[in-house]
Structure formats: structure tokens, C-alpha cells
């Protein structure tokens, strides 16, 4: 008798080997897609959106590429997800995590074909991941105590991160920018305090870090363009027509003269408000909402610089840098904390006028102005810088540092290999496979740089056989080099996150033996 159909019409079900193959194929396809962007000589991708305008993004950032893909394969979705999380959590290593997970699955596929049960592979991978982590832990360098050395560590990390991005030409410059910016945060991971302003024009080299704060606004007409020793009131209040907020209130009059009277009263009210604000003893007033002409004029008369329509982030940042509080009522001037800065002036970047606050009290926030030839360039530069900033801010919290250039992978692979030899049973195959996947990363880096990967990795392996070796792949000269001398470092936290998330994702996909796809929701076709 024919087996009844259980699922709905369009639903599909894939079982056992087929389900596993489907996930392997999907995951490996994704890996192959982003593989070529790995490393300092990695290539970029052009992404064209399907939306209106068909916007083009040129990027080398794994998370950005994967985010923009429309994927149907469930296993591939898992990989995209881990890359996204990596981006949120540590900011960098988004490509590495996907590549490692993909390599783990590629090895697992071979093992499954050799009749090893997925569960055995998983338990092997788990042991291997733990072992790899411990191996790495033993070789970390922690320069927390030594501020000078730590700063140079940060510099190295920034340079390493940036070297795989579009900014690699000027990595020295940008690494300095990023390190300075992060050091100003003093340990907080709140990257919002670092503002990035993009202005097309000039070259990447013209980008600079500004100690103060730059607001992308114009100064009101007829108001001073330069204020020294500014006292700033940061506000979020209505400066258009301060409406009566009581519900249902409305103006109903019976003669024209009354209208004029009320208008007068309204103006009077606004004048009072402005007076109150000025009574704070300020010479600069920044408001989140609009400032109409009338109050603006009043401010100009009083010689107060009034800036309208600063957005939410702008206001918060400004409050943060100048040390003032965001005010909405102005009745007790003595208790409102005002912000201070040494100098406010209008500056020109390219063709745009911006307001520059310098000599601010709380040195936490700063602004990085990026200059570059085109929008695409700037967007990519921002992403790269963001990655670097994330990594640095994480490193400030967790000061452990490892070397880069494929060094950590080789160290881990060596330890894992050692373990595989000592482990009895089928698990040892899986552990061995884990080490092979780790070695795949330096291999890919070398391949992307157009080097002879087989030769280099073999050399590297031989080097690593010695105790305390610092060898890694020097992509620039195309040989095996001493990473400590070359100053290539990475954050331990990033490496650890890559290792753990990749193993977790691989495990998740391996455990699956059935895929059930529900019938897609029917959409009303408007065509």
C-alpha cells in the first residue's frame, strides 16, 4: 500500500545521507565564495543589490558579503548567522570563521564517506577544539602591565587587521588613527563615541583623527563663526512653535485683534524661553529639534551660537564630549550642567562646512574624518576601520595577544595532531581532520597571495616542529618569516571566538540527518 502523504503539498523532506549531502554542499559553497577574500592579498567582491537603483557595494568584509546574499540552503544560513554574530561580538574574523567551519565540514564529509558516524566526528571535534584552545592559551602574550608595549601590540593588531582591507596602502596611518581613537575610550567598548564622517574628495591619506568633535551642521546666519571658551547647552526641546501639549487644546477667537494678541503672547513665550536659555550664561546652544527663524534671530542678537537639528547621535555624542547634560527645561539654570570646550569654529572639509568643537573636556569621544576618491571607497574604508576599531576595543578589555600570519593555526594544528596520535578509537580520525582544517587557513592565505601554498605550509610545519617558534607566512615577501619580528599580531579573543563558533556551527550542521522544508508561504502576486 502506498504510504500516505503526511506533509503539505509543496513541502519537501530530505533524509539521511541526502540531507547531509545537501548541508555539506551548501556550507562548502558558501565557504568557497568567501574563501578568496581571506588574508592580506584577498580579493574583493562586488555586490549589486536587487532593489531600486541597483546599488553597488565593493567589499572584502565577510559579514557584509554574506549579509547581502539571498540563500535558500539551511546549512548555508547557519554559516551566515555565525559570521553575523562574529561581527557583532568581536567585529573581525568574519571571513575566517566561515572558512574554518566550511573546512571542518569538508573534512567531515570525507570522514562520513569513510563510514564514520557523525556523532563520533562531533565528539572528536569537541576534544580537538578544546585542545586547540589550550594550546593557544599557552602561547599568548599579555602585555597588560607594560603600557608602552601594549600600545605597540595594539598598533600591530590594527595593522594586521587593516592589511587585509582596502586601507592596506595606508595602514600605518590608519592603524595610528584607530589606536589613538580606541585609547581615548579608556577601556569602554562603546564605539559610538567614535564618530566617523565620510567626505568624498582628497585621498585616503588625507583622513585624520580629530581630538574634538565635528558636527555635520552649519552655523546659523549672522551668528559668530568662532567662539573661544565656549559654554555649551545641549538641548532637546521644541524651538519652533512651542505647542501647548494638553490634549484637545485649541485656539478659538472671535476677532482679528485677538489673533494678534495671542500671536504676541506666543512670541513673548518664545522670547521668554530664549531669555531663560541665554540666562544659563551660554554662548553656544545646540538643539536636537528645529530652531525657527525668530528664536534664531534672538540668539544671534545675544551673540549666542545656535545649532539646530543635530540628530540624536550627534546630541548624545556632543553631550558626552563636552560633559554637559541634555536639557529640555530651562527653569533652574544653576543646576544644569553645561558643556565646555575651548574653541568652536567652522571648518571646511572639501566643499562642506562643518562645525568643529575642539579642546573638549571629556577626552573620550573623537571624530575620524575619512577622505577618499569615491563613495564606494569610503564605505569600504569605514567598514575596514570599524573592524579595526572593534578588534582594538576588544583587545583593550582582553589584553591577550597572539601572533598572526597563520601562526596560531599552526600552533593549534601541532597540538591537535599530537593529541590525535594519543587518542585511541575512531575519534582520532576526527581529531586529525580538525588539524587538517586548521592548516587549511594558512594554505588559503598563501593561495590567495598567489604563492606556492604546498611548499610554504610544509616549510611552516617543519619550522613549527621546533619549540617556541614564531614562524608564519610572510605574504609580502612570499616566504616563511618570523611573525614577532614582522610585527604581525592578532587578538586572542578574536581567534578564540573564531575557533569556538566555527566548531559549534560545524557540529550543528553535522548533527542533522533530516531536512524538512515547509511549503513556502504563498504571496499575493501583485503583477
Amino acid at each position: 500500500m502506498a504510504i500516505e502523504r503526511i506533509l503539505k503539498d509543496d513541502a519537501s523532506e530530505e533524509k539521511g545521507e541526502r540531507a547531509r549531502t545537501a548541508s555539506f554542499v551548501g556550507a562548502i559553497a558558501i565557504t568557497d565564495l568567501v574563501k578568496t577574500t581571506l588574508g592580506p592579498k584577498g580579493m574583493d567582491k562586488i555586490l549589486q543589490s536587487t532593489g531600486r537603483g541597483q546599488e553597488v557595494t565593493v567589499t572584502n568584509d565577510g559579514a557584509t558579503i554574506l549579509k547581502s546574499l539571498h540563500i535558500d540552503n539551511p546549512a548555508a544560513k547557519v554559516l551566515i548567522d555565525i559570521s553575523k554574530v562574529q561581527d557583532d561580538e568581536v567585529g573581525d574574523g568574519t571571513t575566517s570563521v566561515v572558512v574554518l567551519a566550511g573546512e571542518l565540514l569538508r573534512e567531515a564529509e570525507k570522514l562520513v564517506a569513510a563510514k564514520i558516524h557523525p556523532m563520533t566526528i562531533i565528539s572528536g571535534y569537541r576534544i580537538a577544539a578544546e585542545c586547540a584552545r589550550n594550546a593557544l592559551l599557552q602561547r599568548v602574550v599579555d602585555n597588560k602591565e607594560n603600557a608602552e608595549k601594549f600600545k605597540s601590540d595594539l598598533m600591530k593588531i590594527a595593522k594586521t587587521t587593516l592589511s587585509s582591507k582596502i586601507l592596506s596602502q595606508d595602514k600605518e596611518h590608519f592603524a595610528q588613527l584607530a589606536v589613538d581613537a580606541v585609547m581615548r575610550l579608556k577601556g569602554s567598548t562603546n564605539l559610538e563615541a567614535i564618530q566617523i564622517i565620510k567626505k568624498p574628495g582628497g585621498s585616503l591619506k588625507d583622513s585624520f583623527l580629530d581630538e574634538g568633535f565635528i558636527l555635520d551642521k552649519k552655523i546659523g546666519l549672522g551668528q559668530p563663526k568662532r567662539i573661544e571658551n565656549a559654554k555649551i547647552l545641549v538641548a532637546n526641546t521644541a524651538m519652533d512653535t512651542d505647542k501647548v501639549k494638553i490634549y484637545g487644546a485649541r485656539v478659538r477667537v472671535d476677532s482679528m485683534s485677538k489673533v494678534a494678541e495671542i500671536e504676541g503672547a506666543e512670541k513673548e513665550k518664545m522670547r521668554e524661553k530664549v531669555q531663560k536659555i541665554i540666562a544659563h550664561g551660554i554662548n553656544c546652544f545646540v538643539n536636537r529639534q528645529l530652531i525657527y527663524n525668530f528664536p534664531e534671530e534672538l540668539f544671534a542678537d545675544a551673540g549666542v551660537l545656535a545649532i539646530e537639528h543635530a540628530d540624536f547621535d550627534g546630541i548624545e555624542r556632543l553631550a558626552l564630549v563636552t560633559g554637559g547634560e541634555i536639557a529640555s527645561t530651562f527653569d533652574n539654570p544653576e543646576s544644569v550642567k553645561l558643556g565646555h570646550c575651548k574653541l568652536i569654529e567652522e571648518i571646511m572639509i572639501g566643499e562642506d562646512k562643518l562645525i568643529h568643537f575642539s579642546g573638549v573636556e571629556m577626552g573620550q569621544a573623537c571624530t575620524i574624518v575619512l577622505r577618499g576618491a569615491s563613495h564606494h571607497m569610503l564605505d569600504e574604508a569605514e567598514r575596514s576601520l570599524h573592524d579595526a576599531l572593534c578588534v582594538l576595543s576588544q583587545t583593550v578589555n582582553d589584553t591577550r595577544v597572539v601572533l598572526g600570519g597563520g601562526w596560531p593555526e599552526m600552533v593549534m594544528a601541532k597540538a591537535v595532531d599530537e593529541l590525535a596520535r594519543q587518542t585511541p578509537g575512531k575519534k582520532s580520525h576526527a581529531i586529525e581532520a580538525f588539524s587538517r582544517s586548521l592548516v587549511a587557513i594558512p594554505t588559503i592565505i598563501a593561495d590567495n597571495a598567489g604563492l606556492d601554498s604546498a611548499d610554504l605550509v610544509a616549510q611552516l610545519r617543519a619550522e613549527h616542529h621546533k619549540e617556541g617558534c614564531n614562524a608564519g607566512i610572510d605574504v609580502i615577501s612570499g616566504s616563511v618569516g618570523d611573525m614577532a619580528e614582522l610585527g604581525i599580531s592578532e587578538s586572542f579573543k578574536v581567534k578564540q571566538a573564531v575557533l569556538l563558533s566555527a566548531t559549534e556551527a560545524a557540529e550543528m550542521i553535522l548533527r542533522v540527518d533530516e531536512i524538512i522544508t515547509c511549503a513556502p508561504r504563498k504571496r499575493e502576486d501583485r503583477m
Partner: protein
């Protein structure tokens, strides 16, 4: 389809639009139903046990769920067949009632159906089969009671409870840190449990997840987390010994519900109205301050002015807190939800030892922790994990573990796991079968065979030789008259489940057998399926 004719030989219509319906009757109907039930069970069979595999489920919107929880798989499978829907219901009711064993119950029902099919082929009437099953299930349940052990634990010694939760968690993806999660679950349950009344209100345990971090970072918070931040960026991020005003009225100008108009026709009126408005905001904030609140939690939004006034008076505030969370906060802090500013009194304030804002990762996600509450019964389990699917799956696993811990507190009888209870029942039912004189004997024997299918699936999923292993364990049980022998899924080296500390709750197991029998009985009793045909 059969047609009826009246005495004049005219066709007689019994069913509306009879020719458009397909109809299955008698043995055909039963066989079709059984095969549908079996098909569902077969999907779940590989998910059983600590070495069970996961399923990927893709929802109609393309979202991916990866799970091995029986109830979740069936729920998301979007089945179309009526009998399959019954099986889904079955697993769901096990989930509601016990919370664990949702896969086992379906596998059990599938096995019972399989056995029933053979009996039907031999010509035994379905009702007799159903009755035989009923008798057998009664024997099995009694036997379970007989072999169950009382299980001792105290609030100070949680080790046995932790062990049980670990058994539950070991079949899930989180088994990497099952020890950690089991401890969290047990502590959470114990802190909300009423040990005298033997009752646990699981509503008091909130399970929250946030993507990022490691699974090991999952923590138990004696208090509540709210996915919100302070309304003003410059408010203090940490408040000790907070007195919390819980409000359901907005810091906004009043909006009377009746329709009204305030007419402004003179300058004086305009000015008084303005003054009133200012005073109104001032009053609201002052009232909160007067009663001694140091934190305001509000269900609604704040006006800019009010926000600043709050900030100004050094009164941190949280806005847009959801209704459910508001209630939880009220329960935890012992405060009252206040609908109007006028009704705010010092007694109605909730108390918490520490309120702090915590931010995560590189994104600006912030959470508010309310800890050391006056009424510290409410707890939150805060899950971290590599990705969304992982967190969802962890949530489900923790739910199962919580349910198990709760069941143990309600009723502290346990049976040993690893299929040992099923094998022991199977032996008992087999032995009892011979005492029944009627045709039911066959059904009872079939029931015993069906019971074997759970340990068989366990062995199969663990990569053991199913038949060999099962028969070895069975003979060992009979020889040594010890019901603690089961399948050694984790390759520990002993199959004494008592030594392995693998056990399950008695009520969970009993419920599984009873529910599975009930559903199978229901399916067997159907002898006519009328469904609208496809065209």
C-alpha cells in the same frame, strides 16, 4: 463509493456532494491511518536518545530551526494528514503535561501501531487489539510504580536533581556543557519552588537569550532582565538599593478619554494653560520623588520635558517596558503596579538590591538587570550562544530540564533511563500476557514487543547492534532480576543505569505509556475516513 438505493431503486444521497469525496473504509482505512502514524514516528525515531540526530526545519518564511526536540519538530513540520496531526497533538500534550519525553511518546505510539497492523492482518478485530493494549498499559504502569525508586534530595543537596537534568540535556545539542546548564536549571527551579506544597510555578522563571558569547557564559540571574535601557543617556547606569515605582501612566500631558475641547481665546488663558502644563510635568516627577522612588519603570513613553526633569531630579527611568515584564518586575520586587500618579505611595514601591545596565559586544545592545529583589523568587536564565538557532535550541533544552526538575519536586519517584524501564515493563507485560485467556493475549504480547522498540531505537542511534544488544540486556535483566540494566548509549562500559546515574521521572514515563496507548486506541477505532477529494 457505495451508493444506497431506496425501495424504488432510486439512488439515495447520504453524503452531500458524495461523488466529490474519497472514502476509505474498514481495514483499508485502518491500514492507511497506521501507515501515516508510523511515518511520523519514523521521522522522530532517529532523534531519540543522547546520540540522536537533529533535524533542520525550514519554515514557510524561510527561517531555519535546528532541533531534536520531538514536540518542536512536529509542531513546525506543518503536517497535512489527519492522523499525523493526532500524533502532533500527542507530542504536544506530553510537552504540556510533562515537558520531556516528547520524542519517546511518538516513537512508542508508532511502535504500537506497527504491532497492531500485524494483528489486524491476522484478522483480530481492532477493538480487541485496543482493549488488549489498554490492559497491557495498565500492567506496565503498575509495574513502573513497582520498580520506581524514591529519590532523596534537599535544598542543600542538589546533586541528584542535577544528575537527572543532565540525563535530559544529554540528548540535546547543548550536551557540551550540560553540567553547567543542569546546575542552572536546578537552581532556578529550587529558587522558585514551594517545597512544602511541592509546587513549582515555572512562570517565575524567565528564559532570555541573546546572541553572542559562548554557551558557557549562560548565567542564572536572581532577578529579572529587561531588554531596555535608561530613557536618558546620561542617567546613572547602576543603582543600589533601588526603590522602584512601577507605573502604567505615561509621563505625558493628560489625555482624558472623554471628548473635550479646551478653547483658548484670550492671552491670559493661553498663559495659564502654559503654566499649568509646566506644573503638570513638575508635579508628576515631584510625586515620584516624594514617595522616595529611586527608579521609575514605566509602560509608556516620556515627553522630552518630563525626561529631562527626571534626569534633572536624578531619578533614572526606563520607558516602554512591556506589560508582561512589568508584571514580572512587580512580582519580583514586591511592588504594586500604579496606574495613576496620585496613587503613588511609599508602600507601593518595589525594592531591588541592585539595578544595572549592561552592554554587550560591539553593538549597542543594552540590557537592564534587576537583581537582589525583595521577593527574590523570580529568576532569569540568560542564555548566550553562537547563533540564533543555538539559542533557540538551548531555550527548548532548558525548558525540558526545568520541567524535569519540577516533576521531581512534585513527585520524587524515579525510574532508571536508558531504556531499562521499557525493557523491564516489556518483561512484565510478556509474563502477564499468558494469564489472559482471550484474544487480547496477542495484543498484550504485541504491546510488550512495542515497548522493546524504544531501547531498540536507542541502541540503533548509538551505533550499537540493536537486536543483539537488546536481547543481551533483556536476558541480563531476567537473570539477575534487576530492572536497572539499560542500553549503554554513551559507551561508558557498564549498562547498569543506576551506576551511570541515568534516570527519568516516574510520572513522565507513565504518562508516555498512557498517552501513547490512548492515541493508538483512538486511531484503531477509526474505520471510515471521508475526505474531500483532491480535484
Amino acid at each position: 463509493m457505495a451508493l444506497a438505493f431506496d425501495e424504488y431503486g432510486r439512488p439515495f444521497i447520504i453524503l452531500k456532494e458524495q461523488d466529490q469525496k474519497t472514502r476509505l473504509r474498514g481495514i483499508e482505512a485502518q491500514k492507511a491511518n497506521i501507515s501515516a502514524g508510523k511515518a511520523v514516528a519514523r521521522i522522530l525515531r532517529t532523534s531519540l536518545g543522547p546520540k540522536g540526530m537533529d533535524k533542520i526545519l525550514q519554515s514557510p518564511d524561510g527561517d531555519v530551526t535546528i532541533t531534536n526536540d520531538g514536540a518542536t519538530i512536529l509542531e513546525q513540520m506543518d503536517v497535512d494528514n489527519q492522523i499525523a496531526k493526532l500524533m502532533v497533538e500527542l507530542s504536544r500534550s506530553q510537552d504540556y503535561e510533562i515537558g520531556d519525553g516528547t520524542t519517546g511518546v511518538v516513537v512508542m505510539a508508532g511502535a504500537l501501531l506497527e504491532q497492531a497492523e500485524r494483528l489486524l492482518e491476522r484478522g483480530i478485530h481492532p477493538i480487541r487489539v485496543a482493549e488488549g493494549y489498554e490492559m497491557a498499559s495498565r500492567i506496565a504502569v503498575e509495574h513502573l510504580e513497582h520498580i520506581s525508586k524514591k529519590f532523596d534530595f534537599e535544598a542543600t543537596n542538589i546533586e541528584p536533581l542535577v544528575q537527572t537534568c543532565m540525563t535530559t540535556l544529554s540528548s540535546k545539542i547543548v550536551n557540551r556543557c550540560k553540567r553547567h546548564l543542569a546546575e542552572i536549571s536546578v537552581k532556578a527551579v529550587l529558587s522558585v519552588a514551594d517545597l512544602d506544597r511541592k509546587d513549582v510555578n515555572l512562570d517565575m522563571i524567565k528564559v532570555e537569550g541573546k546572541v553572542g558569547g559562548k554557551l558557557e557564559d549562560t548565567e542564572l540571574i536572581y532577578g529579572i532582565t529587561v531588554d531596555k535601557d535608561m530613557s536618558h543617556p546620561q542617567m546613572p547606569k547602576q543603582i543600589e538599593d533601588a526603590k522602584i515605582a512601577i507605573l502604567t501612566c505615561p509621563f505625558e500631558p493628560p489625555k482624558p478619554k472623554t471628548k473635550h475641547k479646551v478653547d483658548i481665546d484670550t492671552v491670559e488663558k493661553f498663559q495659564t494653560l502654559r503654566l499649568q502644563e509646566q506644573k503638570y510635568f513638575d508635579d508628576m516627577v515631584q510625586k515620584c520623588k516624594d514617595v522616595g522612588a529611586t527608579l521609575v519603570i514605566c509602560q509608556w513613553g516620556f515627553d522630552d520635558e518630563a525626561n529631562h526633569l527626571l534626569m534633572h531630579r536624578n531619578l533614572p527611568a526606563v520607558r516602554w517596558v512591556g506589560g508582561v515584564e512589568l508584571e514580572l518586575i512587580a512580582i519580583a520586587t514586591g511592588g504594586r503596579i500604579v496606574p495613576r500618579f496620585q496613587e503613588l505611595t511609599p508602600e507601593k514601591l518595589g525594592r531591588a538590591g541592585l539595578v544595572r545596565e549592561k552592554s554587550f559586544g560591539t553593538t549597542k545592545d543594552k540590557m537592564l538587570y534587576i537583581e537582589h529583589c525583595a521577593n527574590s523568587r523570580a529568576v532569569t536564565i540568560f542564555i548566550r550562544g553562537g547563533n540564533k538557532m543555538m539559542i533557540e535550541e538551548t531555550k527548548r533544552s532548558i525548558h525540558d530540564a526545568l520541567c524535569v526538575a519540577r516533576n521531581l519536586i512534585r513527585n520524587n519517584s524515579i525510574v532508571y533511563g536508558g531504556g531499562s524501564a521499557e525493557i523491564s515493563c516489556s518483561i512484565a507485560v510478556e509474563a502477564a500476557a499468558d494469564k489472559y485467556p482471550g484474544v487480547e493475549q496477542y495484543a498484550i504480547r504485541a504491546f510488550a514487543d512495542a515497548l522493546d522498540s524504544v531501547p531498540m531505537a536507542l541502541a540503533e542511534n548509538s551505533g550499537l547492534q540493536p537486536i543483539e544488544t537488546l536481547s543481551a540486556v533483556k536476558s541480563q535483566q531476567i537473570k539477575e532480576n534487576n530492572p536497572h540494566y539499560g542500553i549503554d548509549c554513551n559507551d561508558v562500559g557498564t549498562n547498569n543505569m543506576r551506576q551511570q546515574d541515568v534516570f527519568e521521572t516516574l510520572i513522565g514515563k507513565q504518562q508516555q505509556i498512557l498517552l501513547a496507548t490512548q492515541v493508538v486506541k483512538m486511531i484503531l477505532k477509526i474505520d471510515d475516513v471521508i475526505s474531500p477529494s483532491d480535484y
